[in-house]
Amino acid sequence: MEEREYRSASGAPIALRRRQYSASCRELVVRCPRLQLRSLSAATSAVWLAAYGLFVLCENSMVLSAAIFITLIGLIIYLHFVKIDHESLLVIGSLGIQVTSSYASGKESTTFIEMGHVKDVVINEAIHMQKVIYYLCILLQDPGDPQGVSEVVPLFQSSKPRLDCLIEVYKSCQEILEQRKTAPQPS
């Protein structure tokens, strides 16, 4: 198991952890930048200042309790549905590829793609806002057309690692994917 520091596309620090369980099973975990205390306090202070301003205007103390309520609910929703803590890729040769996103509240959302549906794992370029970024994606096989691609599944969408990190992940995946090409056909 090894862990290395990299940078995301927007400059925030991220970490890549690689773990090899066996010859055909590898797990790659990218840890996203953590929630910053200063942005959290800035948001909370802004909401409370606005609520206090409203309270001064309309003399209703319900505004203050409503502001606290909104802050709490907003924070819970943000941690449970929006903020991703780490994204992982588990490649099990001969079974499939599993993509997991873990949220800050502990919730995990998993997708498993069988090896028979996976055509290849590639690095693509995309125009995102005003930048051109690289992203890793899984190409899914079209059942009707062996040369065609039916779907593109992008990976690491919220951590957006830069090319150096993506190359490491790409090399690890390709080592396992090559095994299925060189493996002898089952009798």
Partner: protein, 576 residues
């Protein structure tokens, strides 16, 4: 190629024996379903397997041996287990052994006929047998719709799920049965069943027959010739309550059919309809008890007449305003007065009619309110119908205004063509040039001028009444949307997803367990449940939903030309 062994977690503590299950050669994977314990006679085991295979159409075989020894590994036992491999010939013969309470088992395979001398990697995947057996795999929607999918192209996981699901017969024998074969699987401690479920299953057949008989009686009455005479049939088609009742009757027919559901979709549909009906009726009875307590329905009936009066008064005020100088616009006085007086007289008739009906309103409402026990949707439909009846005069005014405006527009367009020297050719369906006589031109131009200057007055009346009519239509549309929502929501599926989420599977997820060097890779396969949005989308009940008939542009065009609009179209209605 990697060999995958799917091992049920309930057999982890079983005594030594042989493994039976299914070997899927295309995927090089073995699905272990049960462990047969010593002592056994090989011939009887083979007989039992062939019988199970005949009943379930799944190819069973003996896959290998399982040894669970509390002490150190015994040489004689391992040789005995290898010899078993020659009795039950299976390629490859899998040997799994567990020592003491160790988590890490050793797995090896014996290949007699293969040329491959390399030791192939073994992956041990644990699965929860009961959950996999009960769950239903939902393929992603795009693969489900492609019809030319061959069976072997289908998901590899679904093969595993199907194998476990179809082997229910294997799980029926528990360890207390007197038989030659002693098995261990998830039900080997005794077949589980619930008394309530069994009783309900027994009682459901006669209940269904009774219900079918009653429904056929009711539908026979509904279809009788007496109710099909013209005024009545027109009335039934206009009232939305009758449609909703017909829809619910259809649902009852679905539930009460005696035929067992063929597949998962039909079973879920039946269950959803049943739960939806139950909740609907429960909410309706709740509403009814709330309405009849403290005589609220009497109060409602008492306020109905004053509300209708109030609406009529507001309309009168509106017409007085239109007859004056509305919004500062100058109307043609004569036409204004004629139209205004005509509509005022109409309102006067309406008010007298309402006052005539007022003594009977309370009684009618009391009895109509009783029908809320048929369901909340029926109560909402009755509300929508009452609104339609109370605002009938607004509908009438809209029709008068629209017809007048429409006539005017057509007249204007035809005379405008005459003004330019053209004519509409009905035969060729196009505009042709035409030479008119002088007197035709003279009269035509005169009429055109008159109609043109009278246009603003009619247009204003048309605008006002169309807006009122649209308001009523929007209110009715919202009520129908709510009824639709209650009708089509698959409550049973949502509750199932909440409480027994493994029953509705979108896929699987793997977790890597603790590893040890030299031992095979250990994975835990868990069920990944379907998201709530996909549950609602997959199991939505079909409704006779009303949706807008026209797109926005055609609606605007119709409004501009003065054609009557019927904005909601019901599914199953013929297109006019």
């Amino acid at each position: 190629m990697v060999l995958k062994v799917f091992f049920p977690s309930c057999c982890s503590s079983a005594e030594s024996g042989i493994l039976i299950g299914r070997w899927i050669s295309e995927q090089n994977s073995a699905v272990v379903l049960a462990v047969v314990h010593f002592p056994f006679i090989p011939v009887q085991v083979k007989q039992y397997l062939s019988e199970v295979q005949r009943l379930t159409k799944v190819s069973f075989s003996v896959l290998g041996s399982w040894s669970n020894s509390k002490q150190e590994k015994e040489e004689s036992l391992s040789e005995f287990l290898e010899d078993l491999g020659t009795i039950f010939s299976h390629e490859p013969w899998i040997q799994i052994s567990k020592e003491g309470d160790s988590k890490f088992w050793s797995c090896s395979t014996l290949q007699k006929h293969s040329n491959n001398s390399k030791e192939e990697e073994i992956v041990l995947v644990y699965y929860d047998q009961r959950k996999v057996m009960l769950s239903h795999l939902h393929p992603p929607l795009d693969t489900a719709t492609s019809a030319d999918h061959k069976a072997d192209d289908a998901s590899k996981l679904s093969a595993i799920f199907n194998t476990v699901a179809k082997s229910k017969i294997l799980f029926m024998t528990d360890r207390y049965d007197e038989g030659p074969i002693k098995l261990t699987h998830w039900q080997s401690d005794g077949v589980e069943a619930s008394i309530i479920v069994e009783l309900m299953k027994q009682a459901s057949v006669p209940a269904c027959m009774l219900l079918t008989f009653l429904i056929s009686l009711i539908s026979g009455i509904c279809r009788s010739r007496v109710l099909k005479f013209w005024p009545l049939s027109f009335l039934w088609s206009k009232l939305s309550t009758c449609e909703q009742l017909g829809h619910r009757l259809q649902h009852l027919q679905v539930i009460s059919s005696i035929k067992k559901a063929q597949n998962q979709t039909q079973l879920m549909r039946k269950a959803n309809v049943f739960v939806s009906l139950l909740i609907d009726v429960a909410l309706g009875i709740l509403l009814m008890s709330w309405l009849y307590r403290k005589n609220r329905i009497g109060h409602l009936a008492d306020t109905l007449i004053p509300v209708a009066d109030h609406i009529a008064e507001e309309l009168q005020d509106l017409l007085q305003w239109l007859m004056g100088a509305p919004a500062g616009l100058k109307m043609n006085r004569a036409l204004d007065q004629v139209l205004g007086r005509f509509f005022l007289y109409h309102i006067h008739l309406w008010i007298s009619y309402i006052h005539l009906m007022s003594p009977f309103i309370e009684m009618i409402l009391w009895y109509v309110g009783l029908s809320a026990c048929l369901g909340l949707t029926v109560a909402l439909c009755i509300l929508s119908d009452i609104i339609a009846l109370l605002t009938f005069h607004i509908y009438c005014f809209y029709v008068y205004g629209a017809r007048l405006y429409c006539l005017k527009i057509y007249g204007l367009s035809s005379l405008w063509r005459l003004f330019r020297g053209k004519k509409w050719n009905v035969l060729r369906q196009r505009v042709d040039s035409c030479s008119y006589d002088l007197d035709q031109l003279f009269i035509g131009t005169l009429l055109f001028t008159i109609l043109l200057f009278l246009l603003p007055t009619t247009a204003l009346y048309y605008l006002v009444f169309t807006l009122l009519r649209l308001l009523v239509v929007i209110v009715q549309g919202l009520i129908h949307l709510l009824v639709d929502l209650i009708d089509s929501l698959p409550l049973y599926s949502i509750i199932l997803r909440l409480c027994r989420s493994y029953r509705l599977a979108a896929g699987v997820k793997f977790r890597v367990l603790e590893q040890q060097d030299g031992k095979p890779l250990r994975l835990l396969m868990q069920i990944n449940p379907l998201s709530y949005a996909s549950v609602v989308q997959t199991y939505r009940l079909p409704t006779y939903s009303c949706y807008p008939k026209d797109s926005w542009t055609s609606l605007c065009k119709k409004l501009f030309l003065g054609e009557l609009i019927y904005p909601w179209k019901h599914k199953g209605e013929k297109q006019d």
